[in-house]
């Protein structure tokens, strides 16, 4: 249920940005979500929709841009993956470092003015 806290924070930021920009209604919210964050999009949208009822963000769509993890493999160089891994997804080499994939941010809002 950690999506509940995330949904609440998204709503708070969206409403404050909308108010600051004198927008009447938020229609869409673009998010960047790292694959390491274990955020389930359907659950997040459901909870957001529930929390946003009666606010200017009611009915806003969440558009999620997935951020992969970055893999540096000693054998074959840099690649990306959609989940954490203990071996290189390209060459199966074990000597890798996995970074990134931990973003959780709002990129932009589409609003009615």
């Amino acid at each position: 249920m950690h999506e509940l806290g995330v949904a609440n924070d998204i709503l708070g930021i969206a409403l404050s940005e909308a108010e600051r920009n004198a927008a009447k209604k938020v229609t869409s919210i673009r998010l960047r979500v790292g694959v390491m964050r274990a955020v389930e999009p359907e659950n997040l949208s459901f909870l957001f929709g529930h929390l946003a009822r009666g606010t200017p963000a009611e009915g806003a769509q969440l558009e999620i841009v997935e951020e992969p993890v970055r893999i540096e493999c000693a054998a074959c160089g840099i690649s990306e993956a959609r989940s954490f891994t203990f071996a290189c997804p390209r060459c199966n080499g074990p000597d890798i470092s996995v970074t990134g994939g931990d973003s959780l941010s709002i990129l932009s809002l589409d609003v009615d003015t």
Partner: protein, 224 residues
């Protein structure tokens, strides 16, 4: 912006910014008083409270330990710790599956930490959400009991990637369960090459003094 139209507002703000700010405030509060803080994370029933009790027994009489217990409901853990005569607060998180740094910050502000040198924060029992939310701790400790299975670092990589210590608990039960300690060690090191790994049994006492020594050394190293 013109009324009656639509527009895109570029935001580029971290959703965790308020949590990050609170964690920074906690770090400042603790550093100002030379308090070393551990964030204890594990599945329910892996031995977080038992480790806290072992630390309390080890440093009994010296004082200087304060405890914050996180649970969705009940004061059971706080009552268990209170029997040891130390300062303890219970945070009930209700619908939230982890301790929010803002909540911890307000609890710490209510506590008398003037004699505290070691703060133990027991997070809500699960391996997912607590891993995502730093509490301003000096070190993060993840506990994994051998009854949970040796695939946990593969299933919950974030907590293993972000923890400084991995404590494998209940090792006295190893003869009765399918748990490959070397497999866990390999997977944990792949997720975090710097992780320090301890194997302990609170029942037999095996490995406990090495772990407690290490925690004491980490705490002492922070003291200016």
């Amino acid at each position: 912006m013109e009324a009656g139209g639509n527009a895109r507002i570029e935001v580029e703000r971290s959703i965790l910014e308020s949590a990050d700010e609170a964690a920074t405030a906690i770090r400042a509060l603790l550093s100002g008083q030379e308090i070393y803080a551990l964030n204890l994370i594990s599945s329910p029933g892996s031995g977080k409270t038992t480790l806290i009790e072992a630390l309390l027994a080890r440093f009994d009489g010296k004082g200087g330990i304060a405890v914050v217990e996180g649970d969705i409901e009940t004061e059971i853990d706080a009552e268990r710790i209170r029997k040891h005569g130390v300062q303890v607060r219970q945070i009930n998180t209700r619908s939230s599956c982890h301790i929010q740094p803002s909540r911890l910050l307000s609890v710490l502000r209510e506590m008398d930490l003037s004699k505290t040198r070691l703060l133990l924060v027991e997070n809500v029992g699960n391996l997912v959400c607590p891993a995502e939310v730093p509490l301003g701790e000096d070190a993060r400790v993840v506990l994994l009991s051998v009854t949970e299975g040796d695939e946990k670092p593969l299933k919950y990589p974030l907590v293993f990637r972000t923890s400084d210590l991995l404590v494998i608990t209940k090792t006295d039960l190893l003869p009765y369960v399918m748990f490959d300690v070397d497999r866990v060690r390999r997977a944990a090191r792949a997720a975090n090459p710097a992780v320090e790994i301890f194997e302990v049994s609170a029942t037999t006492g095996a490995g406990m003094s090495a772990l407690l020594d290490r925690i004491e050394a980490m705490r002492a190293a922070k003291k200016k």
